[in-house]
């Protein structure tokens, strides 16, 4: 994502000079995310869906729920799989073909944040132990790129899952059989929220936009759950964080994440 873009030096200088004064190019405070809009049921044919804008970054997530075979060692648990793909129309540098390492990282970080929070109680997604379980697939596609895909995909997947309706299947004649008219919410136990921070020089900014993303030295994505605990984390980039910085980032992620969680809660209530 934008791995080949070259930011112009005037813009880089401007970003750095403003940061020295504690300001950002788009007028935000250092710990302020861009405006987040969440539209659910964007894809009515999916079991759940959401279209999320963070500034000019746009992601669509569609959730498909269908019977599947369990993993051999976890026959008493349903499946949850979250993917992410950068559509080639999202940015001129995106190439078609097998996913690049940074896209695979994106998908795995988003998946891990939701999985490790135990947002979905997969033990309730069993049709017939060891034989058939419910699989929940949350597929993110990036439609427009302007930095911070980690959070955009994470919020899209979370919003789509919060508003998903799962059909009911019974085990009849040795196969899962759909029970009409028994749709229900997914078993949700918490709302994970990721907050991505970029380090530019000695400054740490929440939700870096595309230009900030291009020039940042390091980044960290921290996911917290509804109890305010930290449940997943990923550091990236070619510089390091001091211990103090990383502690600070943890606190920021809890504080900023709590506000964003309110938005997601409203989405959940609107979808019920």
């Amino acid at each position: 994502m934008a791995s080949h873009t070259v930011i112009d030096e005037l813009k880089r200088t401007q970003i750095l000079e403003l940061l020295e004064q504690g300001k950002r190019v788009d007028g935000r405070a250092l710990d302020e995310p861009r405006e987040i809009t969440i539209e659910t049921n964007a894809i009515p044919k999916a079991n759940g869906s959401a279209r999320v804008h963070i500034g000019d970054t746009e992601v669509i997530c569609g959730v498909k729920i269908q019977p599947d075979r369990p993993f051999p060692d976890t026959g008493d648990k349903g499946l949850f799989i979250c993917t992410a793909e950068l559509l080639p129309l999202s940015h001129p540098t995106v190439e078609t073909g097998p996913p690049q390492p940074h896209v695979i990282e994106l998908a795995r970080v988003v998946d891990r944040g939701i999985r490790e929070s135990h947002m979905i109680d997969v033990s309730q997604l069993v049709i017939k132990k060891d034989k058939s379980v419910i699989g929940v697939f949350a597929d993110n596609v990036v439609v427009d790129y302007d930095g911070n895909l980690f959070d955009a995909c994470s919020y899209a997947a979370t919003a789509a899952l919060l508003t998903s309706k799962t059909p009911k299947w019974d085990w009849v004649d040795d196969k899962p059989t759909l029970v009409e008219g028994e749709d229900s919410q997914l078993p949700i136990s918490t709302i994970p929220v990721s907050v991505t921070m970029g380090k530019i020089g000695n400054h740490i900014v929440v939700d870096p936009n595309g230009d900030e993303w291009d020039i940042m030295d390091a980044r960290v994505t921290i996911t917290t759950d509804s109890d305010g605990n930290i449940c997943a984390l990923q550091k990236g980039g070619f510089d390091g964080f001091t211990q103090d910085e990383i502690i600070q980032c943890g606190e920021t992620s809890v504080r900023v994440g709590a506000k964003i969680r309110e938005k997601l809660k409203a989405v959940q209530q609107g979808g019920q």
Partner: protein
Amino acid sequence: MGGRDATMVLLDENGIRCDGRKIDEPRRIMIKAGGLKNADGSAYIEFGDNKILVGVFGPRDVHPKHMSNTDTGILRVRYHMEPFSVTERKNPAPSRREIEISKVIKEALEPAVMLEKFPRTAVDVFIEVLQADGGTRCAALTAASVALADAGIPMRDMVAAIAAGKVADTIVLDVNNEEDQAGQADMPIGYMPSLKKITLLQLDGILTPEEYKKCVSVGVEGCKIVYELQKKALHNKYFGNRDD
């Protein structure tokens, strides 16, 4: 023709179809020109329950270099369905169907685009099907043509597309998903309305020579309806509703 539902009436005695349309009536079509920030040109179409997004880049450098042509620019088209766009989750890897449709759409656009002025470059058309409901290739081609115009790619004409078909022994316009499953023939048509040329044509099903003739003419008339909506979408974006 699997999945025939004995209780579904495809065409009632008043000539009304299973979704309430008349035989020569297309589904609801909404086209928007532009919308994507990073693409050079873009369009979004809702065609019945189809939802398709198209982004165009170029003319631009060709990678890999060996694909470039020193005499002209080249057109590349990728038709792609999202995993959540169909009833059963689709494997994200490109299927044979998607590859064929990409090629058919590319060849439907090629007669319109003029890339001679841009040797050694490529124009990339990326089609993303967000929700599929029968007739995606026609909707995609229609939107791709709008996105190409939005990108300022020189074109001899627009390309508008819609399917005609045979349902309950009657030739109808814009076959929907149920009709396609249970119907007798489906014929997607792409058409350049000013130059009066058919640039996409396929057929699944059996037609008599008379029905074939009727089907083509119903399809071409349908393309003219679609063309007016393409025109409106571009006028809305570029001339702010002010028609001359």
